[in-house]
Amino acid sequence: MSTKPYALEIRRLRTVFPGPTGPLSIVDDVTLGVRPGEMLAVVGESGSGKSMTFLSALGLVSAPGRVESGQVLVGGRDLVKLSAAELQAIRGQSISMIFQDPLSGLNPVFTVGQQITEVLRAHRRTGRAEARREAIRLLERVQIPDAHRRLDDYPHQFSGGMRQRVLTAMAIAHSPQVLIADEPTTALDVTVQAQVLELLDTLRREAGMAIVLITHDMGIVARHADRVAVMYAGRVVEEGAVTDVFAQPRHPYTLSLLRSIPQLDAPVGAELMAIRGQPPLPGTVRQGCPFEARCYLGAGRPACREGRPELAPAAGPAHLSACHFAETLHVQEAIA
């Protein structure tokens, strides 16, 4: 267990959007952290708040949403309290984010070189020639072949995987301490996925970058991440080392998720296990556990209906769960 200080620490973050009957919490009291050289995977269904958490951390929530409370600590500074200008200086410098769709993430009317240079010069006074050299170096670092020629190509002349690498190059241009990758591989084929993830691994090892990988693919989590945080309805419901969580999940939702992954060696004709129902719409769960309605363990139980479980250590200090019955969950209920 690492005792290094967190590179990024989010404490009790709450982001709200106005709703018909009052503000809706899209990010509901989220606490997370990632250390230098560590890869934290954040998993959850669509709408679980996983992207919004980090967009909020970077101050990229578009109106009418806003961060209501909480802290986001990077390098000793609380991003929530910073002015727009200060935030802008930090983005891309100390903390960067890459998004899901590489096809629309690059500006179609500028060359790749111009866009990388744009990021370089946003935070550092760099001469044009030097910026160009640095851009070539960055492209080489993300393994784009023939970099000095491709610098002058336009985004539509690159494939999806290469565009994602260009975006990654832009994100690491200033060697940030934290890199947030929001489903970087969802829009790519499996082979390209592997390359992008390998790149992230390299960054983590060689540069000691703290990486947050937002994904819904448990396979990727198992293969690449050190720690995993499971989110549901805007809250973190479980967090721990990947090996611990996968071996013995301490939250029924995690357990159900893992169980629902089809197994290659399952008997022929075995049923696919799905979690019945839908995640609650933001703001519709007032009290109690948000997962209660769909929980095989807690559905209908008064404790789960009325009492909201807090994220607390369930099996050792580094494995947290937000479930009243965390400690009683048994491995046999996991993957059969």
Binding site: Q88, D101, S104, N107, V109, E118
Partner: protein, 313 residues
């Protein structure tokens, strides 16, 4: 790039051919005998027959069409029945007036409309945005000739800032400009309203794109995002707005010219319509439509220059 250019030029020729065709058939859609109309009170059977022969109206329609095309290529657009002069002469003398009005009007419209649209989009939801949009709404809702009348009433008659007519026979650059000013301002403000609204839409759409969000996440300043990254993308739609509103303004210039008693292509067409001088009407329409086609083609070529995606196809 050259492929785009070639394609644009080919389209230009094709469209021009179509324009000539439509203009031709439009005027042939007049019910009744044009020769009869033109001669009016002097229409005796013989006179009509002579005129018909002279105008080539007794030839089969296809032949008339081909002849017309042929003449159009050489710049002969027929003869005005009122003055007996070639239609081209009439038109040629009114073009400078229209050109002055169109250029100054569009200039004002672009200078006011585009920046307002951009500012509005960048401050989406603020009071500036709302004020601009309210103003633009009023601008597109009041008939342009009414605005002209009110302007003449208020600024020319009552305030005496401008002459009440849109043109003067006195020589001198300053006089001409002074007389041009009010019509140009009225036209300009009217078109600016459209341009502001559409520019704002175009900018808002670009600002909502992913790559803007990415730039923001990379720490690029808002100023640069707006004026360099977003604007370059909105440039093609904004130019498209300008080209479309230009065509619109040519159509409405006729109203301005009438209200301000100003000579120009619109006035010429108007007089021709009232005098049943269909050759002149036809010629005027053709020239105006031709101008629109030329401007559109120029813009089309420009799009190819600006948007790299159009080049490497």
């Amino acid at each position: 790039m050259s492929r785009h250019l070639a394609r644009s030029l080919a389209q230009l020729l094709l469209t021009l051919a179509g324009v000539v065709t439509v203009a031709f058939f439009l005027m042939r859609a007049i019910p009744g005998d044009p020769a009869l109309y033109m001669l009016g009170d002097y229409a005796t059977a013989d006179a009509v027959a002579v005129l018909r022969a002279k105008l080539g109206l007794d030839l089969p329609i296809l032949q008339q069409y081909l002849l017309f095309m042929q003449h159009a290529l050489t710049g002969d657009l027929g003869t005005s029945v009122v003055t007996g002069q070639p239609a081209m002469t009439e038109i040629a003398s009114s073009v400078p007036w229209s050109l002055a009005l169109a250029v100054s009007g569009m200039g004002i419209a672009i200078a006011i409309g585009v920046p307002l649209g951009i500012v509005s989009a960048s401050r989406h939801g603020s009071w500036i945005d709302r004020a601009v949009m309210v103003g633009a709404l009023l601008g597109i809702s009041f008939p342009v000739f009414w605005i002209g009348l009110v302007a003449i009433l208020g600024l020319a008659h009552k305030a005496g800032l401008f002459p009440t007519l849109g043109a003067s026979s006195e020589p001198g650059l300053w006089t001409s400009l002074h007389h041009l000013a009010l019509p140009a301002i009225v036209l300009g403000l009217s078109v600016a309203a459209y341009i502001a609204r559409l520019t704002r839409s175009a900018m808002l759409e670009v600002l909502g794109q992913d790559f803007i969000r990415v730039a923001r996440a990379m720490g690029v300043s808002e100023h640069r995002i707006l004026y360099r990254l977003a604007l370059r993308n909105a440039l093609v739609p904004i130019l498209a707005v300008i080209s479309v509103t230009f065509a619109w303004s040519l159509g409405n210039a006729i109203l301005i010219e009438v209200v301000f008693s100003r000579p120009g292509l619109g006035s010429t067409i108007m007089k021709a319509v009232l005098a049943r001088d269909y050759q002149l009407v036809q010629a005027g329409l053709l020239v105006l439509a031709g101008a629109v086609v030329f401007v559109n083609t120029t813009f089309n070529i420009l799009y190819g220059v600006i948007d790299p995606r159009l080049r490497t196809r």
